[in-house]
Subunit: 216 residues, 2 copies
DNA sequence: GTCTATACGAGGATAGAC
DNA sequence: GTCTATCCTCGTATAGAC
């Protein structure tokens, strides 16, 4: 269950969390929440794995919900790293074709989702969407809208360079990205059951090709 | 909370369920599960609304999980009704353009998802995907794969009639349907928060237009 | 098929010693 | 910041009267 990526995730990404026990609690909670959902996991389930006593948990988190909140807050920061800042778009796009740009973005995303901890948190986001408004906000705003806004900017720049035709850039962003979202869901579901994901990955690169041909 | 559609849903669709109390239990369970998830809802939460005693529930269902299973089994039957049988495709397609066919299919689906009970069960499917293998199977097989297979057949027929170019029909099906899946998720999320869905609906019909232009 | 009553373990959370 | 001990409510489920 543990590999370098997992072990070091919170060390690398959370300067605010430097307590080994606290990290272990978070990692265990991520693992269990992603399988059984927040309500399906008890503090007792968590401590069984972390090997501390129940009362010790409450020295690190004021209650069960604060564990979930901490997971979400740090996930938000990770998700923000997937897209480069919009003001760097011009220089990124200067040497890339539309297809190369989309392929690069996709492989960057696949890199993010290859991290098993990240994939688990994505699963928690899916599961808790209707129960937890923070999860819902992260999905709708931080994931869907941020990505679409970023792509819209990219397409505007490409149009200024006359790389692509002058269609509505937001429509282009949606038409490009929305199928990818479904494929991501499919990818995460298959990985959960340890089923080969090569077909979905092919679907993704296939889509880039279809999209590029469609708009030219 | 109740309207004609909701009140009659189980009467209309489940000839096997003719007991008013049993129907009430199911409707309440659907409502609560869709908000808090299966594990977040107790039998006591349900009986508070149904106004019977705890032990009575066990006269209708052998345990809590059987309630969820009953919901899923009947949902499966409803979902199967969304696409017409494949062998009727030829006659359906005989008087319709590609665009008209896709628009008709979409409006048929919107009809299905407009039913608040159906929308709640979709939410339950999303929530329980990682915890319950039946939910996962319904999503991957009954929803995603069935729809794609259906569309693939439709595109094959359209190609035989030389209505559309000879591209890989499965790719066409995926390229058409996958963005719709993301829009459905967005639609259900917005409805949950009582936010206007007109923009997503426009996105859907916009997509049909984009797709039809792209393949011609 | 509804009710009352009850069993009993799981669940979140705290007090206070070390 | 870890432990032991404890609290009390919630949760699933059953027995048995009507």
């Amino acid at each position: 269950m543990t590999n370098v990526t997992e072990d070091n995730y919170f060390d690398i990404n959370l300067n605010m969390i430097n307590n080994a026990t606290k990290i272990k609690i978070l990692e265990t909670a991520i693992d269990l929440f992603s399988q059984k959902g927040y309500s399906g996991v008890s503090i007792r389930d968590i401590i069984k794995e972390v090997k501390i006593k129940e009362s010790s948990v409450y020295k690190h988190f004021k209650n069960k919900n604060e564990i979930l909140e901490t997971i979400f807050i740090n996930f938000r920061k990770e998700v923000a790293k997937i897209c480069p800042p919009v003001n760097s778009l011009k220089s990124i796009l200067s040497n890339l074709s539309t297809k190369e740009f989309l392929e690069k973005g996709l492989s960057q995303f696949m890199n993010h989702i290859d991290n098993p901890i990240m994939r688990k948190i994505w699963r928690i986001i899916y599961i808790e969407q209707f129960r937890d408004s923070l999860a819902r906000e992260i999905y709708l705003k931080d994931i869907i809208h941020t990505t679409i806004d970023f792509l819209e900017e990219a397409f505007i720049i490409m149009q200024a360079k006359q790389q692509i035709p002058p269609m509505d850039p937001r429509t282009l962003a949606i038409e490009y990205q929305y199928p990818i979202f479904t494929m991501i869901t499919e990818y995460i579901l298959l990985k959960f059951d340890n089923i080969e994901t090569i077909e979905v990955e092919r679907k993704m690169y296939n889509h880039i090709e279809f999209f590029c041909k469609a708009i030219l």
